[in-house]
Subunit: 156 residues, 2 copies
Amino acid sequence: MNTETNLEHELDAAANWCLQRGEKLTDLRREVLSLLLAHDGSIKAYELLAELQKRKPTAAPPTVYRALDFLLNVGLAHKLGSLNAFVACRELDHTHHHGLMLICDRCRGVHELSDESWAERLAEDAARLGFRLSQQDIEIKGICANCQQVEQAGEA
Amino acid sequence: MNTETNLEHELDAAANWCLQRGEKLTDLRREVLSLLLAHDGSIKAYELLAELQKRKPTAAPPTVYRALDFLLNVGLAHKLGSLNAFVACRELDHTHHHGLMLICDRCRGVHELSDESWAERLAEDAARLGFRLSQQDIEIKGICANCQQVEQAGEA
DNA sequence: TTTCTATTGTTATATTATAACAAAACATTT
DNA sequence: AAATGTTTTGTTATAATATAACAATAGAAA
């Protein structure tokens, strides 16, 4: 199975995901999601716009922001507030509460953690203050494994 | 002890904090920190600028952003990436690794958690992926106790 | 078809943040 | 004090991020 069919597969799954929620993954939204998925790490809205314009010269900022808003709302993408960047959600299947996004300071890559036992503890601590957590992603910064290796190689 | 002397007390402590790090809390920085401290919740850069201009009409965006950068670097303030807003750090004394910021979706208020036992667990999970956490704040969204009460009152 | 709603197009503008260079303040050495 | 270097602040311009507002189009429902 090559990359292209893999991508189409993911997009079809996303379309289904939308239908189950009474929403539609239109051509435009599908294209934006496709661009998001094609990026390993996160991507910025105006980078996405530039990509989109290659195939759709008419695209303007609202074009991309509206598609992103849709994808965020339906859970197909995440916004990384600390970077003002966006990333496709790769973990559609599990019922996730707080997506934990490990963001690499170096390469802007993102790894989404699905283990959530730590989250319970967190929610307890917050509850002790009367704080009720909303279901949003939590962003953690650091250096990914790959960039740590590059770092060491540079020091050698 | 009234509010004013309390504020001056905090500002003096902040000045000391800077000196210990070989940095200086200049008048300008002190004024910006003062405005940050005067706000319960978080405040946006341009709101801060407007406040600053009341006493210092010459102030421009770089004025406030430079002061904020300084305060962030020396640890006297936090940036909330998800809101593009800023907040004074109220927990100077303890050696904190990852400040946990509970941000209210409603009132933009922030509560800084100092208990960090959950952070160890988090670091372990991340380490399993080879991810090394950097010492940065972690932002958690939700509804604060106060806003929950207001919410209920509205429903009654 | 007609009507209603959702989506997309388009233009303009708001909001957030930084670059670049000049001036002033401050510290250090002579 | 004068000369020098460094840090901080002033100032203008502009970059980067995001949304408002309204027109046009497409799709669904009556």
